[in-house]
């Protein structure tokens, strides 16, 4: 064992030790505020109108960190571990080989094994499609992977609660598989088969299986750190955005356009389809909107379509398949978002 691995393992054990000690000791339980209390504090702060905006932003940041630090830490470690240990080449093979239901299921559930970084999804989509994985499973993967990765789910658990987290998993996989299948049926036989790739070489096994376990744990920590550097600034941006929403957008406006009811849900679903939301940023943003009066259905619709689709991703996909394909699956996804929002609103009417 080299020095680096030992240090990495010690750090990992320490982190987990601290987490468990804190949770068992209940060190944070006295500090945590419930959503209702929190709403009252925000309202009071703004009503008195004596608190300057920057202090309000700091309050928001501290409040969000208090709710999510544990989940966030676990999310980063999970992301690093997946990057190092996930059998990505096997998942890719499995997705391209089977017929019928299997590739859809693999694409829907295996997404998080393949990609943590949303910018790396389009080449994977293109590669799957051109290697003959079929249009349907490739689209399923494209739509389900960003919404259903462990980091996003853990952060949702921390900031929005278990109902949102569970619903997100179910809805992301379900909608991904459904939209993938329907798009595949829609274009059956009308699209020319993709030009086969002529690279004369299989992608190499990029995972170094022969490395020792401790070295791989060290790699996990390095990948986690990479992920922290990449994502943490974006999350902070999302939290500041949430604070600004709470401070400046009048709740009446949010209730009117993003409150409860079918029209707000449709609108929120459509915004999600076009707006670019980097991974994990949607969670604090949605919490800010929920605290200001966004409906639960509208929030769920955005959580589904927001990370899965964006205008830049649609344009990127247009370079690989005919533009009518993204148009069809984006419309289907919008409908799915609306339906998912309505169902969630029915079961969870209040945040």
């Amino acid at each position: 064992m080299d020095k680096k691995s030992v240090v990495a393992i010690i750090v990992l054990v320490l982190i987990f030790g601290v987490i468990i000690a804190y949770e068992w000791g209940g060190a944070w339980s006295g500090v945590k505020t419930t959503m209702a209390e929190n709403k009252a504090i925000s309202a009071k702060l703004l009503e008195e109108n004596k608190i300057p905006v920057h202090e309000f932003l700091i309050f928001t940041i501290i409040d969000y960190i208090k709710h999510s630090w544990l989940c966030l830490l676990l999310a980063f470690i999970a992301a690093g571990a997946l990057q190092e240990f996930a059998p990505r080449d096997k998942v890719i093979k499995l997705m391209g080989s089977g017929r019928g239901f299997v590739p859809y299921a693999v694409a829907g559930c295996g997404g998080p094994l393949l990609s943590m970084c949303s910018c790396s999804i389009i080449p994977l989509f293109g590669g799957l499609y051109k290697r003959g994985a079929g249009l349907g499973p490739a689209i399923t993967f494209l739509l389900a992977a960003p919404a259903f990765n462990p980091a996003a789910i853990l952060l949702t658990l921390g900031l929005l609660g278990w109902k949102f987290a569970a619903a997100r998993v179910v809805v992301a996989i379900g909608a991904g598989m459904l939209v993938g299948y329907l798009t595949d049926r829609f274009f059956k036989g009308t699209l020319p088969p993709p030009e086969p790739l002529n690279i004369g070489q299989e992608p190499d096994g990029t995972v170094q299986e022969n490395e020792s376990f401790s070295k791989r744990v060290a790699n996990t920590m390095l990948y986690s750190w990479e992920f922290v550097k990449m994502v943490l600034p974006l999350i902070l941006l999302g939290v500041i955005g949430a604070g600004l929403v709470k401070a400046f957008l009048p709740p009446s406006l949010i209730v009117k356009y993003l409150g409860n009811g079918i029209l707000p849900i449709m609108l929120s679903s459509a915004i999600g389809v076009f707006m670019y939301t980097p991974t994990l940023v949607e969670v604090p943003l949605i919490r800010g909107l929920l605290e200001s009066g966004m409906g639960t259905g509208a929030a769920m619709a955005f959580l589904l379509t927001g990370p899965a689709l964006s205008l830049p991703s649609i344009l990127g996909v247009c370079k690989i398949v005919k533009p009518k394909v993204p148009v069809v699956y984006a419309s289907l996804m919008w409908i799915c978002g609306t339906i998912a929002g309505l169902i969630f609103w029915f079961f969870v009417p209040k945040f």
Partner: protein, 79 residues
């Protein structure tokens, strides 16, 4: 020698760029480094997981950031 780096321009792709340019200058070879950012071209090159690296048209790694020693080894292999 022709070195191609594939990636839409995210954080990890920049790490590969830095690593490759360092390895090239340390090995003292003449290399033409090309950054491929176009999605269609990345897919056509057979790269499924970005960031990807090709030296003289051969895929050397994809889906991870290589370290300098690895890149130097590949450069000597292809010399």
């Amino acid at each position: 020698m022709k070195i191609e780096i594939f990636g839409p321009g995210c954080h990890r792709c920049h790490d590969v760029e830095k690593c490759v340019s360092k390895a090239v200058s340390e090995s003292g070879v003449e290399a033409e480094i090309e950054k491929v950012k176009d999605m269609g071209k990345i897919v056509d090159a057979g790269i499924m997981q970005t960031p990807g690296l090709k030296i003289n048209g051969k895929i050397k790694c994809s889906g991870r950031v290589p370290n300098i020693e690895e890149v130097k080894k590949w450069i000597t292999e292809e010399k």
